[in-house]
């Protein structure tokens, strides 16, 4: 039997795979080890499940629910805005110019976005002034650092719509005009055309956009810190507090692990739902 020859070409994969293994794989393994008591920076390292049990004492669930609420709501609001926006921009003259203008918020740093939205939603902001001026409210609404997370939600939507638009627009634009014309010709109105043709054909891209936005918002630190409620906050804020305020790196590692697991569960859920919807529509 001929001996299998070693393929030296595989070595070319080493730089890429090595980077992933070192900075991603190793970091995840280290965090997992930290969550069960190993790799202690300040004291003795030994196996312990105490940090996992302690999660109940750091209001983990309140923060988890808040993170999920903001991430799910913001990503769904974003996609609800992005689809009509894509269709409108696609059919507008100078669509490329409009698209470029709409992408601007994506390049503005999160802190600057917070400042812009603060000017709108603040106690003395534009929105309260307009609503008060119109006599619709008696006293200014609390829309920043509010318990419902309206400020954080609005900021997340403002910041993430352009990112989602980038993905969804190219997909909507790629739906062939003759296919849509064929649909209209056979009796479909604009809404049916969207539901029957555009939506199923662009579903994979929309799904990617929603998942990526969800993960971005779920893991957000800055915006919820500046615009969100004091309590609860996102898991990133909780993790930061545990690690840097209480110097409790083990509990922070537990939160980190759970953030990753939750993200994976929700990504799978989104994918499953998306595929199911696409199947139903086809």
């Amino acid at each position: 039997m001929k001996k299998k020859k070693f393929e030296w070409g595989y070595l070319l994969l080493l730089p890429g795979l090595g980077f992933v293994a070192l900075f991603l794989g190793a970091a995840i393994v280290m965090m997992a080890l930290q969550s069960v008591g190993f790799l202690n920076f300040t004291g003795e390292s030994s196996f312990s499940m105490e940090y996992w049990k302690g999660l109940f004492q750091v209001n983990f669930y309140d923060n988890l629910i808040y993170s999920l609420k903001i991430a799910v709501c913001a990503s769904l609001i974003c996609i609800a805005i992005v689809y009509p926006l894509s269709l409108i921009v696609k059919n507008m003259p100078w669509s490329k110019t409009w698209l470029s203008l709409l992408k601007i918020p994506m390049f503005i740093p999160a802190l600057v976005v917070c400042l812009i939205i603060t000017n709108v939603l603040n106690y003395n902001g534009i929105l309260n002034a307009v609503l008060g001026g119109l006599g619709l409210i008696q006293e200014p609404l609390v829309l920043r650092n509010d318990p419902w997370g309206v400020g954080a939600l609005a900021t997340q939507v403002w910041k993430n719509v352009p990112f989602m638009l980038l993905i969804v627009y190219s997909s909507v634009e790629s739906v062939r005009k003759d296919v849509l014309d064929a649909g209209r010709n056979l009796g479909a109105g604009r809404l049916r055309l969207f539901w029957e043709i555009t939506l199923p054909l662009t579903m994979p891209s929309a799904l990617v956009a929603v998942i990526m936005t969800f993960i971005k918002i779920f893991n957000d630190y800055t915006i919820s810190r500046v615009m969100g409620p004091i309590y609860p906050s996102t898991l990133s804020n909780l993790m930061h507090k545990q690690a840097y305020l209480y110097n409790d790196w083990h509990t922070a590692a537990c939160i980190g692990c759970l953030m990753m697991v939750t993200a994976v569960i929700f990504v799978s859920l989104y994918t499953w739902l998306g595929n199911r919807l696409a199947k139903q529509l086809s």
């Binding site: 003759d178 649909g183 009796g187 049916r192 029957e196 043709i197 086809s282």
Partner: protein
């Protein structure tokens, strides 16, 4: 039988470019009409205006007696077969065909029967579960056709539906399209730049150039009695040379041309004696004959002769001009050989400038 269509003074601009220039024609119900012309002549624009995908700048489109200018495409009782087939990639064959029934709110209990009937009509039985990408070009075109006929429209529109198919398949699907249209009695408008296809499939051919209708006539008239140099040249092959009319007696003419003096019988020509015009002779109307054996002869020397299988295609030098002749394949000719052709006077056409 379905309703007819009437187009009146239709004009369409793309910016400063006039894509349709005062186009008018009428089609009787159940007729198969072809819009024929070179690329960019406005035939697809005209079809899209009729379908409602484009708005015209001037003019009216009537379906029967009803003005449909402001009726959106989804409310016009027309169905269109696209050049690219335009099947819905997310739906299987059955759902593609059923789509129109659902959109037009046909009772669901009728769907299965009507879809299966349409599939049978275009030989697609058993392919209902397939996705468009699993079908050949010919099958995809049949799905597109079935998707149109299943809704039983008043008007069927075809935008170069066969241009992506190979020659054999094109011929086969062409025959199928015509059979289905005849069987259902649907008025059909078919866009093509393929003159053979137009002649083979149509009741009426509308020849277009630069946004205008040049000739609107049955296929035989388009080929045998072209009304202009453009139609004579575009439809089939023609020898066209300048000529001067020497004598005219009724519809009989004696003309002087680079091919010599020839007699012509042309009922459509209205040029007087002494006028300048163009002489048009189809290559297949030239019949080899011995020198002096008959009148109305054209003589020259063979420049090239190409064996085409079903005929012999040759170019013959006549002074400084050339004439093309398609003769029976069994003739043996050599390059440089002297040859004469006779042409029947009623095969010589005189066209205005």
């Amino acid at each position: 039988m379905t309703q007819g269509l009437r187009v009146q003074n239709l004009t369409k601009y793309y910016g400063d470019y006039k894509a349709l220039d005062d186009v008018s024609f009428a089609i009787e119900g159940g007729q198969f009409v072809t819009l024929l012309g070179p690329s960019g002549c406005g035939k697809t624009t005209l079809l899209r205006v009729i379908a409602g995908f484009l708005e015209c700048d001037q003019g009216e489109v009537y379906f029967g007696d009803k003005l449909i200018n402001d009726v959106p495409p989804n409310k016009r009782d027309a169905a269109m077969c696209f050049q690219s087939y335009a099947l819905f990639p997310n739906k299987n064959v059955y759902e593609n065909i059923r789509f129109g029934l659902r959109m037009r709110k046909v009772p669901p209990e009728e769907h299965k029967e009507r879809v299966e009937e349409a599939m049978a009509m275009v030989n697609l039985t058993g392919l209902g579960e397939r996705r468009p990408y699993e079908l050949s070009g010919g099958q995809q075109q049949r799905v597109a056709l079935a998707r149109c006929i299943v809704v039983r429209p008043q008007l069927l529109l075809f935008d170069e539906p066969l241009s992506n198919l190979d020659a054999k398949l094109r011929e086969k699907v062409r025959v199928e399209i015509r059979e289905v249209q005849k069987k259902l009695g649907i008025t059909a408008i078919y866009v093509t730049h393929d003159q053979a296809e137009a002649l083979a499939i149509s009741d009426q051919v509308i020849t277009m150039s630069a946004g205008c209708i040049i000739q609107n006539a049955p296929p035989r008239d388009i080929y045998d009695r072209p009304n202009s140099r453009f139609v004579a040249d575009f439809v089939g092959t023609a020898n066209i040379v300048p000529c001067r009319i020497l004598e005219r007696t009724g519809m009989e003419y004696l003309v002087q041309s680079p091919y010599g003096e020839l007699r012509a019988v042309d009922a459509d020509c209205d040029l007087p004696a002494g006028a300048e015009g163009y002489l048009c002779i189809r290559p297949e109307d030239l019949l080899p004959s011995g020198k002096g054996e008959s009148s109305n002869q054209i003589c020259g020397a063979v420049r090239t002769a190409v064996y085409m299988g079903n005929l012999l295609d040759m170019f013959v030098d006549i002074g400084t001009e050339q004439i093309r002749a398609s003769i029976a394949k069994d003739w043996n000719v050599t390059e440089g050989e002297a040859i004469c052709f006779r042409v029947a006077p009623d095969k010589v056409r005189i066209l205005g400038g």
